[in-house]
Symmetry: C2
Subunit: 73 residues, 2 copies
C-alpha cells in the first residue's frame, strides 16, 4: 500500500475509534472537509503541518499515530 493510502487508513481508523465524523475532524483540525475526505481516501501527499493538525484534532501524539504504522500493508 502506498504511503498516501496508509496515512488515510490510519487517520480513518483513529477517527472511527474516537467516534467522530469526517466533518467533525475537519472542523477541529481547521481543514476543509473535502480535503479531509481526499486525505482519508489516500489521494493526498499530505504535508507535515496538516498531519500535525489532524494528530492534534484526534487528541493523539506522533508517537502513537505512527506506532505499528510500518506493519500496514
Amino acid at each position: 500500500m502506498n504511503i498516501k493510502s496508509k496515512i488515510g487508513q490510519r487517520i480513518r481508523a483513529l477517527r472511527l475509534q474516537k467516534g467522530i465524523s469526517q466533518e467533525q475532524l475537519a472542523l477541529k483540525a481547521e481543514l476543509d472537509r473535502t480535503y479531509m475526505t481526499s486525505v482519508e481516501n489516500g489521494k493526498r501527499n499530505i504535508s507535515i503541518q496538516n498531519i500535525e493538525k489532524i494528530i492534534k484534532a484526534l487528541e493523539t501524539t506522533f508517537e502513537e499515530f505512527f506506532k505499528g504504522f510500518d506493519l500496514i500493508v
Copy 2:
C-alpha cells in the same frame, strides 16, 4: 519548536547517528541536496512522500523515527 524545525532536527540527529553527510542522505533519498539542507534547517513543510524517502534512506521506520518525537521542545 514548530513542526518543521522538529522534523529537521530529528532527521539531522538520525543522519549524524548514521555518520553520513547531507549530500549522501540526499543522494540515497533521491532528493535535491539544497532541499535536504532546507528540510534540516526547518524551512520546509515537507510532504509525507518525502518523509518516507528520507526514513527509508536512513534505514529506519516511521515508528522509530517518531518515537519520542512529541518530547522535542
